[in-house]
């Protein structure tokens, strides 16, 4: 390797400057806690609420209810119908976002300091007095169904849904949280109200705020905003029986480029080996050009534009998955290269240099994530949902540094399971056969 850049070698060992963020824990009079970073230089605040459970709380036969409910929260609340609500929000220049995923429902708000009280009063109505008007329900239902129709012809979504069904079976994780055209069509206003009652409760709430707000102000805000929510919501769904076995599933779909989702059983975040597995994945398939999968599938062979893998430590059933897309006549080769890399890593492990490079990247890139109030609020609330301590931000890199070559190679050997790496391909793949039984 030519190295005219002498300075490189020196710089590589240096640890990047660390962005200091001071996280405070705030507890309101009613006992609601939040993590706060005060940042008074820009006159607005980002507030992030997260409620555990998410679309996995859908009742039997009501798949899609939580998703539709979340989409309806800003379609009228309190005295305001959908249009009046939207106009009011625009007058305040506030932004409210509501999202539903497998494991949580999120509420993301940004509001200006100059009209904070009015913005919060409006936000409060969506959580305390949602209307779920019939006309809004029908309008948004039609939008969701339009999306589901498109999903049914989108190879990326087809592949993801097929993999989830294969991996999780009857557990809520096994089907799309958006529901099906049939279930969404049959949802009633009562179903939406039930989904709301299931989700919004104090036994599952996590809060963070970043921006132009003091601990005292945040404390009062918490009680005002969510203090009147009920104590308990619906029971959690319970663990999934993750049963991923080797082989290929092929979903026939007429499109020029096949989309593949590949994966195996994953690892819970609480597992002592999670950091080692995280570093291992950085080397195998995390985004960026340095990963083995990117090098072998894209850089050396030109088989794809992108290939990546990631640990998905879902609450009720972790998986380890990735994606690749290649034209129909080349997908078989791409999948074979991925399978070979899975086996090779499992058998031979990684080198000291790969480990060092991955750790330098992971520790150096970590502070770059803390770049904006909304972004930091989102990170802080995720940390709470995942049960991480409040000083995690300052200890995380040390934990990453502590991962040894032995750790990574043991995890590669024990955790990676090339025999049970399953691949779902959507397209018209040439030279690939579905495995019997799939």
């Amino acid at each position: 390797m030519k190295r005219l850049f002498v300075s490189l070698i020196l710089l590589i060992v240096a640890v990047p400057a660390w962005a200091e963020i001071d996280i405070q824990k705030v507890t309101s009079e009613k006992g609601i806690t939040a993590w706060l970073v005060e940042e008074h230089s820009i006159p607005f605040t980002a507030l992030e609420l997260r409620f555990r459970g998410g679309t996995s709380l859908d009742e039997p036969g009501k798949r899609g209810a939580t998703n539709l409910m979340a989409a309806l929260l800003e379609e009228g609340a309190g005295d305001l119908d959908a249009r009046e609500f939207a106009r009011r929000k625009e007058e305040l220049a506030a932004s409210f976002g509501y999202g539903a995923s497998d494991d949580s429902v999120s509420v993301s708000a940004k509001f200006l300091s100059e009209n904070r009280d009015e913005a919060l009063a409006l936000l409060r109505t969506t959580l305390m007095e949602p209307r779920f008007d019939e006309d809004a329900l029908e309008r948004v239902r039609a939008q969701v169904i339009s999306g589901l129709m498109s999903d049914a012809k989108d190879p990326n979504t087809i592949a993801g849904n097929a993999f989830s069904e294969m991996a999780f079976g009857d557990h809520p994780y096994g089907s799309s949280g958006d529901g099906t055209i049939e279930t969404v069509t049959s949802l009633t206003r009562e179903d939406i109200q039930t989904a709301f009652d299931n989700v919004f409760a104090l036994d599952r709430i996590y809060v963070s705020a970043v921006g132009d707000i003091t601990p005292e102000e945040l404390s009062a805000l918490l009680d005002e905003l969510v203090g009147d929510l009920p104590e308990t919501g619906a029971p959690m769904p319970g663990p999934a029986n993750v049963a991923i076995t080797g082989g290929n599933t092929i979903v026939d779909f007429d499109t020029p480029q096949s989309v593949a989702v590949f994966g195996q059983t994953g690892m819970a975040r609480e597992n002592d080996d999670f950091f080692a597995a995280y570093v291992m994945n950085q080397i195998l398939g995390a985004g960026g050009f340095e990963s083995r999968l990117m090098t072998e599938v894209r850089e050396k062979r030109g088989l794809t534009y992108g290939v990546y893998s990631y640990l998905a430590p879902k609450t009720w059933g972790p998986i380890y998955v990735g994606r690749v897309s290649s034209s129909n006549d080349r997908i078989a080769e791409a999948v074979q290269v991925i399978r070979d890399e899975w086996s090779k890593l499992s058998e031979e492990g990684v080198t000291q240099k790969e480990l060092d490079d991955a750790k330098t990247y992971l520790t150096g890139a970590y502070p770059l994530q803390f770049d904006g109030n909304g972004q930091i609020a989102s990170i802080l609330v995720s940390m709470q949902v995942n049960g991480l301590p409040i000083d995690y931000v300052t200890t995380r890199n040390a934990k990453m540094e502590a991962v040894t070559l032995e750790d990574v190679n043991r995890v590669a050997r024990e955790f990676l399971d090339p025999e049970n790496l399953h691949v779902v391909v959507v397209g018209k793949p040439e030279g690939m056969e579905a495995t019997a039984g799939n």
Partner: protein, 447 residues
Amino acid sequence: MLRHLAPLAAVFALVAPAFGETAEEPVTTYTLDNGMEVVVVEDHRAPVVQQMVWYRAGSADETRGVSGVAHFLEHLLFKATDNLESGEFSEVVAANGGEDNAFTSYDYTAYYQRVAADRLELMMEMESDRMKNLRLSESDILTERDVILEERNQRTDNNPRSLFAEQMNAAQFLNHRYGTPVIGWRHEMETLSLEDALSFYGTYYSPNNAILVVSGDVVPEEVLALAEQYYGVIPANPDLPERIRTTEPPQTAARRLTYKDARVAQPYVSRSYLAPERDPGDQERAAALTVLAEMLGGGTTSFLAEKLQFDNPTAVWTGAFYSGKALDKTTFDMIIVPSDGVSLSEAEAALDEALAAFMERGVDMEQLERIKMQLRASQIYARDNVDGIGQRYGSALAIGLTVQDVQDWPDVLQAVTADDIMQAARDLFREESSVTGWLMRDTEVTQ
């Protein structure tokens, strides 16, 4: 066209609104002796820096027959130079805990790194190296050409909405390269050669055709010193061609097209009009169109949503899009996604009726005030988006706007009047300069 895999663009996010511009940041500008422009934007909240180098060369600067070469070259800039092995650039950035990427558009190609502020010199050393010292091999060409073809598969050929949008653009522009996709037409991409890439590189990659934008925890004088050390020593290209493009003739015939594809689940109607762009010192019309797009199709309270989704529901979704950030004439786009049971021809008629009703009624002053309030607030929110600052200045300067234009933009938007909006709308909605497209299931019968 990002070199990395990025999440697929949202279905209807055709053009991002040009909001969020602000004059709040401390900006310092220099011009090096070789003509390279330098823009430094200070933000000391975190010890992070972003370096971007923008070349005033995009797909619309390509010669005919080699569509996609600007984007192809962008990929190839991560291969070997005289001083770095193939792939070493990104390897070094990653080994320093940084992130890097690049993207190509019609009017520019840009490269950037985000990294701890004390690594700026190393980034400049490497970025300046590849401005001139690229060493490509035939095998680079063959492999990377396969990669861009797979990128086209993924972004375009696997997605009927993208294929439809490509056809709409091709129909809109009769004589301008904006009608050719940035990623290229497949049959031309398949024949792109080493020679094609090097020709584009030799013509356009030089300091007098580049803008350096450094934003973050930096001191302007120090950035200037480094820029002089690394970029200042590269000679200007005396043969840099003047940026003159073929222009559109008067558009005198409305165009219509239908695109049918078995993979279409949700048919819709798309309408575009040829529209003016932001020009240096002359941004008023673009500002009026920016507000018009928001007024017509910017969400629940917009005119099209009111008419077509609430008052007389015929659409699942409507939208209007415009961004004036282009070197030459651009487009103003609208979409109507019909409700179940509403045909495309009924949807199109409903859209036209709604537009006529808007022209009849004029501007709702309360709505205009709400939009302006949001524009003011977006300046505050934009200050929080550190990543967006370099993008905002670089993309403006690359199309000939000045730092002053960027900083004036929020005031120009605030100054837009109801009369400005209606005049801009009257100038815009000429049937002769429009394209109307129907995206259809391949089984559907044209009414």
